[in-house]
Amino acid sequence: MENLDDLIDFKTGRQKRLIYSDADIYEQEMEKIFGRSWLYLAHDCQLEKPGDFIRTFMGEDEVLVVRQKDNSVKAFLNTCTHRGNRLCKADHGNSKTFVCNYHGWSFSFNGELTGVPLEEAAYQNKLEKSKYGMVEVAQIDSYKGLIFATFDEQAPSLEKSLGEMKWYMDVWLDAMPEGSELVGTAMKVELPVNWKLAVENVSGDGYHLGWAHAGAMTVTAESGLAGLSVGNSEVDNESAVSVAGMNGNSVLAALDGKSGYAFYNEYQKVWDYLDENRATAVERLGKFRGEKLWGSQINMTVFPNLQFLPGLNWFRVYHPKGPGKFEMWTWAMVDKRMSDELKQIILDNVSRTFGPAGMFDNDDGDNLQAATEQSRGWRSRQMDLYTNMAIGNEHSREGMPGVVSDGLVCEQNQRYLYRRWLEMMKADSWADIPFYNSLEEAQATEGK
């Protein structure tokens, strides 16, 4: 294993390429990052009734997220405690028991082992069933409908982990009194890409939009919004911000209050919705968030693997499958109070732009795949990569949490993403992992 400090240089925005290909580093990520972080599991709305379940992943561990009788939510490893078979093969559904296909052990949806075939004849009633229940995650919690869990009992609270990021997340989660929901089912794509390259792309890379997506931007409506241009011929960096330095979480946001829908072909109906509900958003979120952020194109990153984009309205979690592979699952995200017609328009537009055949998403896969492959060769993996755009522009801004830089085209957020990566990879315990939510705190904890 390389010296971790050689892999990332926060100050100069440098990463060593082998972090995208090295198997040992990947194994360490599973333990130090995915084994300890709060990981997104499901949206409250997807588990309506007791017994409703979703099958998902925490790192490479498969988990079942299940609504309980008392309306709480539990999450279990999706594996039989007897001989290790997968317990449930459906993506989602409703079930009061999970029965193993191998020997027929059955588990109640609260996790207890309730049925063992031949319990008397073969086990002579000596099996202590209470010891073999489904294995639960260490902690589970939710924030305004988003359910997270961690495998680490020592992990600080979800609240502390999200930190000031909550202030930005509320632009979607809390703009309307009824809250938010996801619509449709997961659009799942497997990509031969290192998970970090996809996360960094959405976390802060406004630079690629005008170039990588030039074809899609040329043919979609209102692409002049958000200060971007086809072919990156010009950029208006006054009208947007990059915000990071919030425990690895980050925001990339336009400030015009409507550009989120810039790539929709039916944006007028969404803009009507924004007009009709703007006053409510301002009332609940205040003037700045209600007028400047709500409706804007915003990329939100919750470290390590959740990203959602109010405005463009897609919500995505990445499940790593080895150093050079992940699955990404994407949903459309809406306000609960939106009409069914508007929800359908948003779902159709999410599919059309960022679904498996989405015009924008289909530009990213090959670039990220190639960057992964070009980090694998013996000579190439010794090379460095750079996110050194706009170094030194970080500042505090009145009324906005976090560390702020001007513009969507700026690599500040990627630098902070890799800073968090390094902090977690290096730390033996949570006591060694700093928490920071402002420029002062970020500077005070840097390199500590």
Binding site: G93, V183, G184, A186, K188, E190, G215
Partner: protein, 173 residues
Amino acid sequence: MNLIPAKNDIYLDLQRGLFKEARLLSAELYNEWLSEIVSEDIYYRMDMPQRRFREDKSGQRAPAKTPIFNDDLASLKVKVGRYDTGFVWAENPMNASRHMVSNVEVFETDTKDQFKVYSVVELHRSRLNADRKRFTVGREDIWVKSEKGYQLLERLMTLDDSVVLDSNMNFFL
């Protein structure tokens, strides 16, 4: 809908139509596809598959289906227009595609000059280096006989994979 097999000459005409369409799509002649094959009233749809238990009859929250394709002529033209910009870098050099169409069945419908056509298409894409991808899709079409010949009015596609296994779907089926 009564499933009455179409007469042989109609079957042959529609099979020719499917093969021609496959040739146009493999060659990425999308504007010819739109003008010669696709009806102005096209409904072109593929949904994201889900793995659910056979016995699971529980309802789903609306909208229950999540489209991969959900297109009319206007949105197909936007997608074709994207390829025409020359800025879709993933498609340069051109990827080799073969649309193989089989299991063709043609039935009359209750509407005059409209035919229900079942088929299976297997798309092979040979991409950079040793990158070979394969999609298998069931199709349920309505074709309509018009002055311009047979045209595709409706296509409902079923993708077999619950996880899409290619880095893009820069194609039509």
